[in-house]
């Protein structure tokens, strides 16, 4: 048992923190998220080519740094600290995670493209009727000759406007909520019949509604076995969920630090409001939530390799705790700032918006408590 980071992991964190400190100050971020494209592609390129950061969780034979889930957590926490919108989560954590899991020719072909910064892959899994149930799918992929024909509607696909590829969950068999019959496809984002409606999200990202209208996809787009994709999807979504917990830890830490700083400047009744015990204790409670979020992120990350049931219970415990903590820290950061907290002027409000969206990303606290109970407290 060991809870220390390796030198390489410390180096990844330090290098990334320095780079983001130079390139991602709040004003610069606001400028590019409000631009037409909503991003600065040079940052992604630099992350790949100057820092090698997009190779963090990949094996050295693919050109990666030889890491895994812990390295993803480190990168995500640092991105959280600058409310970064770089599509590391869908591209590296989710698509990269799926490719690592299936291996073979698909991994050999795609992983180097991810590491080089050439591929941006959006994860098209959610559907309007499906809520957080990964198997609740109306999107279908019907066998057609050697390939498939894709039809359906995917909702709120983060990073889709920037994507070169889409990772799509679709039904190749079974009924709408069956565990069997779910398949995972990695396809070109610009195939004929893919219709996108792009929009900004409240947390500064870009996303799309995606409509597949008789999209012909090749047989080799299938990742894993046909109709047997759900366990793989659950695994990569669990990996993504703890990565989001790591991001949340970074966001929450900044919400807390920003609040500490503000209360020491802001004077009322002739003293900095940080002198008031009622606010001190509130900020201590926020601190404890940040620390517990960090602990639960580590717990979830270290348990990703366990058998599915233990993994799911651990990830759900982590996400539930982090979601509640993010809610508490976010709301109290705004409350403590007072009026200025609810304006667009200070960074704090933008951190709050991201932490609020994280609360329900890949499932709300209630959703995850339900899943936790089904596994850990079965009658």
């Amino acid at each position: 048992m060991d809870f220390t980071y390796t030198e390489t992991q410390d180096m990844i964190r330090d290098t990334l923190a320095r780079f983001l400190g130079d390139t991602y100050d709040f004003e610069t971020r606001q400028k590019f998220i409000n631009s037409d494209s909503g991003r600065d592609p040079a940052i992604w390129t630099a992350l790949a080519q100057e820092l090698g950061m997009l190779g963090a969780p990949f094996a050295e034979e693919h050109g990666g740094l030889g890491g895994g889930a812990l390295e993803n957590a480190i990168v995500m926490e640092e991105l959280g600290k600058v409310i970064g919108i770089e599509p590391y989560l869908p591209t590296v954590v989710i698509a990269g995670g799926a490719l690592k899991a299936v291996g073979g020719a698909q991994a050999d072909a795609f992983i180097p493209e991810i590491i080089a910064g050439n591929a941006i892959i959006a994860f098209a899994y959610a559907e309007p009727q499906g809520r957080y149930d990964l198997a609740n799918l109306r999107t279908t992929a019907k066998k057609d000759g050697a390939g498939y024909v894709l039809n359906g509607h995917k909702g709120v696909v983060y990073a889709a406007p920037w994507a070169t590829h889409l990772l799509v969950t679709a039904r190749t068999g079974g009924n709408q909520r069956d565990r069997d019959g779910v398949s995972l496809f990695l396809i070109d984002a610009n195939l004929p019949g893919i219709v996108r409606r792009d929009y900004p999200t409240v947390d500064g990202n870009r996303a799309s509604e995606i409509y597949f209208e008789n999209v012909a996809i090749p047989a080799d787009a299938l990742l894993g076995g046909e109709g047997a994709g759900l366990p793989l999807i659950e695994q990569v979504v669990d990996e993504a969920t703890v990565a989001v917990c790591a991001e949340a830890t970074g966001v929450m830490q900044k919400l807390h630090e920003g609040t500490l700083e503000y209360t020491q400047q802001r004077k009322q009744f002739g003293v900095p409001i940080a002198k008031f015990q009622v606010l001190q204790h509130r900020m201590v409670d926020m601190f404890m939530e940040v620390e517990q979020a960090r602990s639960m992120t580590i717990m979830g990350t270290l348990k990703l390799g366990l058998p599915a049931n233990e993994r799911m219970a651990a990830v759900s415990a982590a996400k539930a705790k982090v979601a509640r903590g993010a809610n508490f820290v976010g709301q109290n950061a705004i409350q403590t700032h007072g009026g200025i907290g609810i304006t667009q002027e200070l960074a704090i409000g933008h951190y709050f918006k991201r932490s609020t969206m994280i609360e329900s990303q890949f499932g709300s606290a209630d959703h995850h408590m339900d899943r936790y109970e089904r596994i850990a407290l079965a009658d």
Binding site: M1, F3, T4, L260, M283, D285, K321, E373
Partner: protein
């Protein structure tokens, strides 16, 4: 970073399990199962078995009698003793005054007192709080006035846990009335059989005689029994409190406590289903498990993380706050789970008393334990004081 147990760790785990299975006293197990209050002798029997084995003070440095275990081995030890429902060891010597003596004491003090703490020969109690000094501990007024090679001590202490059993007490006393509060305090070791000491019971909500008032009237104490310099006792006091705080996170014991609550809730019926199938009750149990996991990994980060060798710092206040809250929620859930049978008042078995107490065994102490456990957010520095400590020492406010 990993959570794996090495082959050596697994072998150690087996060794601990075997040792407990072969050596934990059956009569103690019986009393615990019946929910009886434990006597001084009950506490000492397990203490002495562990002392004989050399496992009585895992946290101490090896040179003073510690085991030299790795953080992982210490984790295994607390998990296994909790899993086997072993009684907790009294912390006053092992976790409180012992570390103060080996850190600040003279060679003579170390040579005399440490072996007697390890063997269980001396039972210690803690003379900190006073009627007028609770959270504001540094305002204490019990005074020690030099008289030749001695001090003459006068004053009153309170909330002195199990002082009725104690051979020795460690006391915070004022040795300089004119200095700033924290700078006029000294740390004295006092023989509880000294003339002038009176111990009076305070009965708490569960009916237990656990705490006491201790009166000191012209008690003569050799100055050689002062630990560290005169008027520097606050340094020892703070050191001790930080040690005390980490111990009372109680993660392993709370894990075991949740198992017991679940067992009760699988037995008790709610309609035609076990109570644990009630969605509201189940969610409370699940919430507790999740919060306990967060506490456990926060503790592991501090025990086996980058700062592991630094000793307990102010962040141990976090462990105290969350640990004590969880202990209270646990007793609350237990009381809720036993339903009607929380009410009958079980006074313990009297002499020749062989009538079975009212209600199921697991219900006998549910209410007294719930009442008694209100103490955890009050003692060791109330949770409000812990927040003050974090605000000042960690957040820099």
């Amino acid at each position: 970073m990993d959570m794996e147990f090495s082959p050596e760790d697994l072998a150690f785990q087996q060794e601990v399990r075997d040792f407990i299975a072969e050596n934990y006293p059956a009569e103690l197990r019986g009393k615990q199962d019946e929910g009886e209050e434990l006597s001084k002798e009950d506490f000492l029997v397990w203490h002495k078995i562990l002392h004989k084995k050399g496992w009585i003070a895992p946290a101490w440095p090896v040179e003073y009698g510690g085991t030299g275990w790795t953080p992982t081995q210490r984790f295994i030890w607390s998990e296994e003793t909790a899993r086997a429902d072993c009684i907790r060891l009294m912390p006053f010597g092992l976790a409180m005054v012992g570390p103060v003596i080996y850190t600040f004491g003279t060679p003579e003090q170390k040579a005399h007192f440490l072996p007697r703490i390890l063997s269980g020969e001396d039972w210690w109690c803690q003379g900190y709080s006073e009627p007028g000094s609770g959270s504001d501990l540094a305002s204490l007024r019990t005074a020690a006035v030099p008289d030749g090679d001695d001090y003459i001590v006068n004053g009153q202490k309170t909330w002195t846990t199990l002082a009725q059993h104690a051979d020795w007490g460690f006391f915070l006393v004022r040795t300089d009335k004119d200095a700033k509060q924290q700078e006029g305090i000294s740390f004295l070791l006092i023989d509880m059989k000294s003339p002038g000491i009176t111990v009076r019971p305070i009965i708490t909500l569960g009916g237990e005689h656990e705490v006491n008032e201790v009166w000191l009237e012209d008690v003569r104490v050799p100055q050689s029994q002062r630990v560290y310099e005169e008027n520097k006792g606050w340094t020892c006091a703070k050191f001790l409190l930080a040690h005390e705080r980490t111990g009372i996170a109680g993660v392993a014991a709370s894990k075991r406590g949740i198992e017991k609550v679940k067992a009760i809730a699988r037995t008790e019926l709610d309609g035609d289903k076990p109570l644990l199938a009630n969605a509201f009750f189940k969610r409370k149990v699940a919430d507790l498990e999740v919060d306990l996991a967060a506490l456990e990994f926060t503790e592991l980060r501090s025990l086996a993380g980058p700062n592991a060798n630094r000793g307990p710092g102010p962040e141990s206040s976090l462990l105290k706050i969350k640990g004590s809250e969880i202990q209270q929620r646990l007793t609350e859930l237990t009381l809720e789970a036993v339903g009607h049978y929380g009410a009958p008042y079980f006074r313990g078995f009297g002499e020749g008393d062989n009538e079975h107490p009212i209600g199921p065994d697991y219900a006998h102490r549910a209410a007294p334990t719930y009442f008694n456990t209100r103490k955890t957010t009050i003692y060791g520095g109330s949770n409000e004081i812990q927040r003050n400590i974090i605000a000042k020492m960690v957040l820099g406010l």
